[in-house]
């Protein structure tokens, strides 16, 4: 049901089997499937990690941590079993890319998990999907079953004498579980509350054993890297940002969709050429470049390459690759409020700056949007958000604070226009009194 959108600039690496029937394992094998896993067995762990480092692949979940480096942190010797954990709890608003991978190419995830397991010496992998993705869980379960039947999973994978087991797992609705330590808690059958770090999962993770946690897109990329070679993959992208990325274009665009483009692809071109520009000849007002937690960019800030470093330099983050385009009809206060309603709803309540901070920010933004705010409220919103930064167990606090600070800084005048009983100047704007229970 989810599909990739095409454009001449698309570079199909992760998406190269999309729409080609690769959910069928025989078809997957025809399309070079499971070649990389066999190759990785011959290469051995160190060569696989070296290849991953050479690829400059950085985590596609949002933080952009170099994948090869992450794998190299796992201790070689461990008394406790090691694990691979696939984060398919895709929940960051504006992000809908892992869905395509699970739907069109589930075996690439399994193959990526096997290769990660070979690289770090893990014998078991878990593929965690968000609860809403039931149809994808069914696809994953079938794919795992087929891989066992072929001997690609089990006690003696590819006849190599190496053991590797894979299990698919469903969540039941929780954004917070997309955070790596909360994800482990959830998989252990508990409330998804983050763990304090250190120790990091690479040392003490799932069931207390060393654990590699990677986003689904990251792991689906791994077989392609092993197949084509790390250096070749790195060439597609920019410096320190190897390869391609599934960018999810949404909002006010003629052609929203998921497009696989090289890392470093120009954001302006992405909006106006790939996404077809803004409907009705309306003006661009703002762009959220990497999912709802990333600071908003102004129209004059979008002539940048979409890689982790360049977007970082522009004062935002590449995040999860969800590009949200806002035209001139959007009330930024309403947009900030809707963003905060989400984080307030999803805050797990474990630590105070996030639990209380998101709640007060939602209340303050609701009041300002409804016209009941005074000048001091704007400063208070900024003060609250700034004091959440870096003071929480997990990044959810930052995810709520960072965009809020940017909304206030870059659109302060618009916040002021709402004050002292004036209310929202935008016609189509809905009041947010009736918030989620």
């Amino acid at each position: 049901m989810a599909y990739l959108t095409t454009h001449p600039d698309v570079v199909p690496v992760v998406s190269y089997r999309f729409g080609k029937g690769a959910t069928n394992i025989d078809r997957y094998i025809e399309l070079d499937g499971y070649k990389a896993a066999r190759k990785a067995i011959e290469m051995g762990p160190e060569a696989v990690i070296a290849e991953m480092k050479a690829s400059n692949l950085r985590g596609r979940g949002g933080a952009g941590f170099p994948t090869g480096m992450k794998w190299s942190f796992v201790p070689k010797q461990s008394e406790k079993p090691k694990y691979i954990l696939v984060n398919g709890d895709e929940s960051e608003p504006a992000t809908c890319k892992d869905r395509l991978i699970f739907e069109h190419d589930p075996h690439s995830v399994i193959e990526g998990v096997i290769i990660a397991g070979l690289a770090v010496g893990a014998k078991m992998g878990f593929i965690y999907l968000r609860g809403e993705y039931r149809y994808l869980l069914n696809i994953m379960e079938k794919a795992i079953e087929d891989a066992y039947a072929k001997g690609f999973l089990g006690k003696n994978i590819f006849g190599s004498g190496i053991e590797f087991e894979a299990v698919s797992h469903t969540g039941a609705g929780a954004y917070e579980v997309g955070e790596e330590s909360a994800l482990m808690e959830s998989l252990e059958g508990k409330r998804g509350i983050p763990r304090i770090r250190p120790p990091f999962p690479a040392v003490v993770g799932l069931y207390g054993g060393p654990t590699v946690i990677n986003n689904a897109e990251t792991l689906a990329t791994v077989p392609h890297i092993i197949r084509m070679g790390g250096a070749e993959y790195a060439k597609i992208g920019t410096e320190r940002n190897g390869g391609t990325r599934l960018f999810c274009l949404s909002g006010h665009l003629e052609k929203p969709g998921v497009y696989e483009l090289p890392m470093g692809y120009n954001l302006k071109r992405m909006i106006y050429e790939v996404g077809g520009g803004i409907p009705g000849g309306r003006k661009l007002k703002a762009v959220v470049p990497g999912g709802s937690s990333t600071p908003v960019l102004l129209p004059e800030e979008i002539d940048i390459g979409m890689d982790f470093d360049q977007v970082g330099k522009a004062g935002s983050m590449l995040g999860s690759g969800g590009v949200v385009v806002l035209d001139e009809t959007v009330c930024m206060v309403e947009f900030a409020l809707r963003t905060m309603r989400f984080y307030q709803h999803e805050s797990c309540g474990w630590c105070i700056p996030c639990r209380e901070g998101t709640d007060w920010l939602k209340k303050s933004l609701t009041r300002v949007h409804a016209g009941g705010g005074v000048d001091k409220d704007i400063d208070n919103i900024q003060y609250l958000a700034e004091n959440m930064l870096g003071r929480t167990f997990c990044p959810l606090g930052d995810a709520a604070a960072m965009p809020t600070i940017a909304f206030v800084k870059k659109f302060r005048k618009e916040f002021e226009d709402h004050l002292d009983g004036k209310g929202c100047p935008y016609k189509h704007s809905l009041q947010h009194e009736a918030v989620l229970a």
Binding site: C96, V167, A172, C248, H252, R338, L430, A437
Partner: protein, 165 residues
């Protein structure tokens, strides 16, 4: 386990027997079990809590604590078809709020309400991962995307017909 009485169908009971063996600890099966049990029973009843606790080997209190964390798990029955309208940012920009208002009017119920005939429930939900195909709705587990109030009516009509069969 198999010799004890169960409130679940034989298929689901067998699935649970296997599920608890897949992980290094039985408790890892807890969240999926609750969701699958809800799919069959309709909600997490006290009897579901008791049996799941027994199967996993934890206290009933532990099960209640866990289930209260996850937004998809519910402790009350709802309508046959749960219409979940996303109003998060990407859907909002493309008419998600208006779609939710439309559903409220059309079904005559509000957020987390159920129609008198028990066919529909309505819920405003957070991002469901359909951002590039907004606005989107999930009815139970099925996605409906790129919706307008008109196409939403057709979707509701289809489910109403299904309910009558």
């Amino acid at each position: 386990m198999a010799t004890e009485t169960t409130i679940f169908s034989p298929e689901l009971a067998a699935r649970f027997d296997k599920l608890v063996t897949l992980y290094p600890v039985r408790r890892s099966a807890l969240v999926p079990m609750l969701l699958y049990a809800q799919d069959e029973v309709g909600y997490i009843s006290k009897a579901v809590v008791a049996e799941v606790a027994r199967r996993v080997g934890v206290l009933e209190n532990d099960v209640v604590s866990v289930l209260s964390y996850y937004s998809m798990l519910r402790t009350q029955p709802i309508g046959k078809f749960n219409v979940q309208v996303c109003t998060n940012i990407c859907c909002m920009l493309r008419g998600g709020n208006e779609l939710f208002e439309h559903c409220k009017k059309r079904l005559g119920i509000g957020h987390k309400g159920t129609t008198a005939d028990g066919v529909f429930s309505l819920e405003e939900v957070e991002c469901i991962g359909a951002c590039s195909w907004a606005p989107a709705v999930q009815v139970n587990y099925d996605f409906h995307e790129n919706l307008t109030p008109e196409s939403m009516d057709k979707v509701l009509e289809e489910y109403r017909e299904k309910a009558q069969k």
